[in-house]
């Protein structure tokens, strides 16, 4: 061994001894989770709520583990993706350098692809992106990417089904589509258009609006023109607060005709969205048989923690974090690769089901090595080989009094 390699070996031994490196000791597991957040830059409105969602999940997991006597302690380190793939890649490396065993986030697909190809695939570190673009599926992730957000293709069917549930047979019915100019909106709108026209309905739009505009009145007018039977607006809460107000101001907007996807699903509608824009509107969201009380628990934790209001897809980050904790418990280790290998065992179809309300037992079962099927707040997962959730069950909810109320569940695959 030349001098250089012996030096590197010495450093490696030192880190393990000091407990910074992966630990396989029997006494307990101290897991560090990497939070890759949008803290500055164009998407910084996402950051605070993702941060809070992950922090709540970490605290809740620690409580549950302590109560259940499972020797696992969880902490989190954060890094700023800045809404830019190059910075996100460097941020991901900083998280790994700080000892993170898995990475939750980032929130847009370009960042996820850069991190996957540049770091996590080779090091077999599990990556839990929030972005839904189909592009993420074109890379060979070797089982390291997991998404708790339903893929566009499935959600598009759910949206179409939700509209049919509202307006009946699509034949001769006009559906007006609008979306915010980014991958999430574009993907869903394309699949929804196909699903709706396949059922015989007609489409108006899609109207595409740029989030940084000063006014959205012309766009809103185009959505309500010709008095369509229903509208689908695919947006994030920050722009929808403005777009919703423009819709109401058009004078012939009826929120009851609106159907929105999961980015606008919150247990309580944030204060900055004017109530008439959403009151009576319906939406779709990943569903499971324990949806309602899982969501109630999540909402309690959220309100109790104080701080920022709900934003988009924060339940998904909560679930991703919980799954990572369960996988670490199953693997008895914080080695990223070992943890990644156990993720499918904690969301195995047919294994005993656990949910947020029974996280203690889930941790105990996982620690004892038995496969479990953890069902989260944002639905059941049971990951396919490309890391997308296979379960196609969706909640159809309605906003009543600013609260989300699940009124129906459908299976989007049929």
């Amino acid at each position: 061994m030349n001098r250089r390699q012996s030096l590197l070996a010495a450093v490696a031994v030192a880190t393990v001894a000091l407990g910074w490196g992966p630990v396989r000791a029997e006494d307990g597991v101290t897991l560090t989770i990497g939070k890759l957040l949008e803290l500055t830059g164009p998407l910084s409105e996402n950051g605070p709520s993702q941060d809070k969602a992950i922090t709540i999940a970490v605290d809740y997991a620690n409580q549950a583990a302590a109560a259940a006597g499972v020797p696992i302690k969880v902490s989190a380190v954060s890094a700023d993706a800045q809404g830019d793939p190059q910075a996100a890649l460097s941020a991901a490396r900083a998280l790994v350098a700080k000892g993170a065993s898995a990475i939750i986030g980032p929130s847009i697909t370009p960042e996820s692809i850069a991190i996957a190809n540049g770091l996590t695939i080779q090091k077999r570190i599990s990556l839990w992106p929030v972005g839904t673009s189909t592009r993420l599926r074109t890379i060979k992730d070797e089982g390291t990417i997991f998404r708790t957000v339903p893929p566009d293709s499935l959600q598009a069917y759910a949206l179409a089904a939700a509209v049919v549930d509202k307006v009946g047979d699509p034949k001769g019915k006009l559906l007006s589509i609008a979306y915010r100019n980014e991958p999430y909106g574009e993907g869903l709108a394309k699949d929804l258009k196909a699903a709706w026209t396949a059922k015989g309905g007609t489409i108006q739009g899609p109207v595409v609006f740029d989030p940084a505009q000063a006014t959205f009145d012309s766009e809103a007018q185009q959505v309500v023109d010709h008095n369509p039977d229903a509208y689908v607006v695919i947006d994030y809460p920050d722009t929808f607060a403005k777009f919703g107000a423009s819709l109401v101001r058009t004078g012939n907007y009826d929120a009851a005709k609106l159907v929105v996807p999961d980015a606008l699903a919150f247990s309580t509608v944030p204060g900055n969205i004017p109530p008439p824009a959403l009151e009576g509107a319906r939406g779709t969201r990943g569903g499971s048989d324990i949806s309602t009380d899982a969501y109630k628990l999540f909402d309690q934790l959220w309100q109790k923690a104080g701080g920022v209001e709900h934003f988009a897809l924060d339940a998904n980050s909560f679930d991703s974090t919980t799954l990572v904790v369960l996988a670490a418990a199953a693997a008895h280790s914080t080695d990223p690769a070992a943890l990644t290998a156990k993720i499918r065992d904690v969301a195995k179809p047919g294994a005993p089901k656990f949910g947020p309300t029974t996280l203690g037992e889930a941790l105990k079962a996982a620690w004892s090595g038995k496969p479990i099927d953890y069902v989260g707040v944002a639905g059941a997962f049971e990951f396919a080989d490309n890391g997308d959730p296979t379960i196609s069950r969706f909640d159809i909810y309605e906003y009543k009094g600013g609260k989300l109320d699940v009124i129906k569940q459908i299976d989007a695959a049929k």
Partner: protein, 335 residues
Amino acid sequence: MTIEEGIGAGAQGRAPRPPIEIPAAAWLALTLVFVAVCLVVARGPVAVGQTTLNGLIAAGYFSLGAVGLTLVFGTLRIINFAHGDLLTLGAYLTFGLNAMGAPFWPAAAVAIALTALIALSLDYVIWAPLRRARTSTLQAMLAAIGLAMVIRFTVQFFAGSQVRGVGQDVLSSINIGPLHLGSLQALVLVVGVVASTLVGLGLAFTRLGKQIRALSDNMALAEVAGIDTARAIRVVWIVAGGLAALAGILFAAAVGSVNPNFGFFTLLSLFTAAVLGGIGNAYGALVGGLVIGLAQEWSTLFVNPRWKPVVGFAILIVVLLVLPRGIFGGSRERS
């Protein structure tokens, strides 16, 4: 420019330009009316009427925000990239005071005064030393980019980057026949027009205004001619800072919910309005805002609204190539 030409030019023909170029304004009004008529023929009166109204609202936002920018740019030759963040500062100071119990609009008044004061103190700390060191426009621009980051992220440090509801009534609207516009939006439009006109009149007819215009034409000459440039510069920063805060507060109130990036995101539209109208010309900011606002909203009648931002930039490039000094800037002039 040799001394002889300098004095010659100053004395002979190029006295600080009269505020309104009668022919340019008339020519522009005619074009806009002509285009509007064609649109009505193509898309019907209601659609054109509504988009025109939306265009006027956008013009209100842009001109109110651009007046301060064009004043500073014209007078002190600073490409002030931090101007957008002064809008954010005004809005968030209002939220802060509001949270401490002050009602919204009184809090806004205090916030406007505070922002004007901050803009003034920034001149002492940053812009005056740079002027004394006679650094290049590029140096001042880089300082502005740095200052923009300091303001934006200090606001974000204290207020957080999450979206914040402003709590004003964004839903109430005024109906003119089939057309409608938000009442707060109407306020922005009115204040935008009034502010740029007042600043324009102030520049044209008050003694201080003439001094400021002399400043923008040739700082050295103005000093030689005995103008108290320090006082003029102070007034420029107070007006620019105050108007920026006013624009930020009205923008946030009318839009309904913002996060600390909103000022910076509108900056390029403000630049486009200021440059289009002719730098240093308050009416220019109004006209520039009008042209972009109308063009962008009218474009939605033909093209998917996703192209709206491109329309603004394309117009800026075209007008600058045809009238290198902007609509009111006059014809080609040696740099």
